[in-house]
Symmetry: C2
Subunit: 196 residues, 2 copies
DNA sequence: GTCTATATTACGATAGAC
DNA sequence: GTCTATCGTAATATAGAC
C-alpha cells in the first residue's frame, strides 16, 4: 500500500486526500483551495475529476455506510441468539470503523446543512434502529439486564463505539484494532467494575 | 419561535442564540448573516455587542469548561476511595453536560482551526487527563477489572458520556437527566450483561 | 442600539489555453 | 489532466446615519 499515486488522480485517490483534509479541518472549514494545496493540483484540476466538494462528501459517506450495513448481512449477525448477534455486531462495528476510519469519521461528523448530509444522517438512523432492534431482542431473550432502557442503552453504546474515531490512529503506538475491539466488548457487556 | 427576549441584547443573551445556531449548522457552517437572522438584529448590531464570531465561540466553550473543571473541585471528587470519586465524576459529568448542554455540545465539536479552538482542545485534554488519573488510582486500589487498559477505558467512557450531546433534548419526552445519569453509571461500571 | 450601505476578502465554480 | 485567469456570490467586518 505504498504506491506513490501521483501520476494522475482518479476520483478514488483524490477522495482519500480530500477526506483527510475534511477530517482535519471539518467539511465546512475546508475550501477547494485547501483541497488543491493538499492534493498538489489546482482547484480547476479537481473539478476535472469530481463535480465539486459535495460529490467528494457523498462518495466518502457512502463508503462508510456500505461498510456498516455490510455487517448486518454477515451470517453471525443473522443467526443464533440475539445477545450473540449483538456482540458480533458491536465487535464488527469497531473493526469496520477502524478499517474505514477516515470515511466513518467524516460520516459521524456530518451536520445536515446540505441534501447529501441529510441523506447520510437518515441512513445512519436506519442503521441505529437495526441495532436497537437487536438489543431489544436480546433483552426479550433475558440476556440483557432489565434495569436499562433499550433505546438509551443503544445510544450510549453507539456513543462509545463512535467516539473511537476521535482518538484512534493506526500508527502502531497506541492500542491495535483487536485490543480496542476486545476492550469495547468487555466494557459494553461487563462494565468497568471488578467482580469479586 | 421568532422573538422572545427582545428588548436589547447583552453579550450573554446573544450568546445563547448564537450557540444554538452554531450547534445546528456547525461553527464553520454558520455565517454572521445566519446569526443576525436568528437573533432578529442586523449583522452590524451583533458587532456592537461582541467583537466577532470567535468571541462568541470563546465565551461558549469557556462556560462549558468551567462547568467540567468545577466537578473536580467538589468534595466527593476529592475525598474517599478512588472508585467512589470516579463514580461521582462520571455522574456529575453527565449532569453538567445536560445542564450546560448547548455549551458543552459546542465544546465537543471544536476542530482546532483557530487559536480559540486549539485552546479549547488543550483544556479538554487537561480535563481528560485528570479523570484518567482517577481511573488509574481506582485500578491501583483493586476496584477496576485488570483486563482493561486504563487509557483506553477512559477514552471509551468519555466517548459514551460525551455522545449524550448528540441526542439528549430537554423536552420531557425522552429520558430525564437523572435517568440518563443512572444509565451511564450502570453501564460504565456494570455493563449490559444480565448477571445470573 | 440598531440600522443601511459598503469595503474587502474568500469561496465555489467555470473558461479556455496548452 | 493540468494550468492560469476570472466570474459571481457570499463571507467577515466597518462606516456613518439615526
Amino acid at each position: 500500500m505504498t504506491t506513490a499515486k501521483r501520476d494522475t488522480y482518479t476520483p478514488e485517490s483524490l477522495l482519500s486526500v480530500a477526506v483527510r483534509v475534511f477530517n482535519d479541518r471539518g467539511y465546512d472549514g475546508t475550501s477547494m483551495e485547501h483541497l488543491s494545496k493538499a492534493a498538489g493540483i489546482s482547484k480547476s484540476s479537481i473539478y476535472h475529476h469530481v463535480s465539486g466538494k459535495e460529490e467528494l462528501l457523498r462518495r466518502a459517506v457512502s463508503r462508510a455506510l456500505d461498510g456498516l450495513f455490510g455487517i448486518l448481512d454477515e451470517e453471525h449477525a443473522r443467526v443464533g441468539p440475539a445477545a450473540g448477534r449483538l456482540e458480533h455486531v458491536v465487535r464488527r462495528m469497531v473493526e469496520v470503523l477502524i478499517a474505514e476510519l477516515p470515511y466513518v469519521t467524516l460520516l459521524l461528523r456530518v451536520r445536515g446543512n446540505t441534501a447529501t448530509e441529510r441523506w447520510a444522517l437518515e441512513r445512519r438512523r436506519d442503521f441505529d434502529h437495526r441495532v436497537a432492534e437487536l438489543l431489544k431482542a436480546a433483552a426479550a431473550e433475558g440476556d440483557i439486564r432489565d434495569d436499562l432502557d433499550g433505546r438509551l442503552a443503544t445510544r450510549l453504546v453507539f456513543g462509545m463505539i463512535n467516539s473511537i474515531v476521535e482518538w484512534y490512529r493506526p500508527d502502531g503506538r497506541g492500542a491495535g484494532e483487536r485490543e480496542v475491539a476486545d476492550a469495547v466488548v468487555r466494557l459494553v457487556f461487563g462494565g468497568l467494575r471488578e467482580v469479586r
